[in-house]
């Protein structure tokens, strides 16, 4: 089975992520920019992910620190700054970001089967796949990382 995620696809991630944050969160471009913090350096990270399952298998994982996840949820739900975000809203909001990232990436994979429902957890998803790319971003100065995985055990580049 061939690798799903290659360099050309990862090039789309920044554009897709910026479109999502502009349309759904910030209301104007410029909130999400390229960053430089690897996922391994995030403190209290939460992970949201969806899989593409079919003839090919891939995963998109969005990772951010808990405080950033809370801020994303507040923005999506039009909540005031500083208001407490309960776990249900965090899971819903952060999962929806992964869902839209995954759906847009899936559109780039021909005959790619189905998209799974999003999952969100403070633990990284277990996988025997291979991480093809890690796209480091910064939203309002806070790190956000999108990782793309080939779940079929082949390298993406």
């Amino acid at each position: 089975m061939n690798a799903v995620i290659d360099t050309s696809m990862s090039d789309h991630v920044l554009v897709i992520a910026q479109d999502i944050f502009t349309a759904m969160i910030d209301g104007e471009p410029g909130g999400l920019v390229p960053g430089h913090v690897p996922v391994s350096e995030l403190v209290d990270p939460w992970h949201a992910w969806v899989d593409v399952r079919g003839d090919v298998a891939a995963r998109a994982v969005v990772t951010a620190e808990r405080g950033t996840c809370d801020a994303i949820a507040r923005a999506l739900l039009s909540m005031p700054d500083g208001e407490d975000v309960d776990r249900g809203d965090l899971v819903d909001a952060f999962g929806e970001i992964a869902n839209v990232v995954g759906g847009n990436l899936k559109s780039l994979i021909p005959d790619s089967g189905a998209l799974t429902l999003p999952q969100v957890a403070p633990e990284a998803p277990a996988t025997d796949g291979v991480r093809a790319h890690e796209v480091q971003l910064s939203w309002r100065g806070s790190p956000v990382v999108i990782s793309l995985w080939n779940l079929n055990g082949t390298e993406g580049e």
Binding site: L76, A93, N104
Partner: protein, 120 residues
Amino acid sequence: MRVLIADDSRVMRQIVIRTLRQAGYDGWDIIEASDGAMALDIALAEAPDLVLSDWNMPELTGIDMLRQLRASGSDVPVAFVTSEGSAQMRQIADEAGALFLIAKPFTPESFRDALEPVLI
């Protein structure tokens, strides 16, 4: 205008409602469903003027909800608001009888462009 918004994400239902308002569609009577089976039940029971449905939902996907609606004889208008807007998905939606498919992320303009031709 009574509109059923079906999405398993409360956040996304809220964003769709907010975006409709930003697109100028104020005052619509909004009903919400949190999965495809609930959407099917409500659509059959209440025959809204429009169903705006996610595709990928628990219990019943949006496309299966539409197919079951049509199989039951309902002609309630259905459109999709979903994270995947590939040509393949659009063709499947079209063949099942959907009015249109809006891909996430969307803007108020996306909704106006899709809705204006069908709200005549």
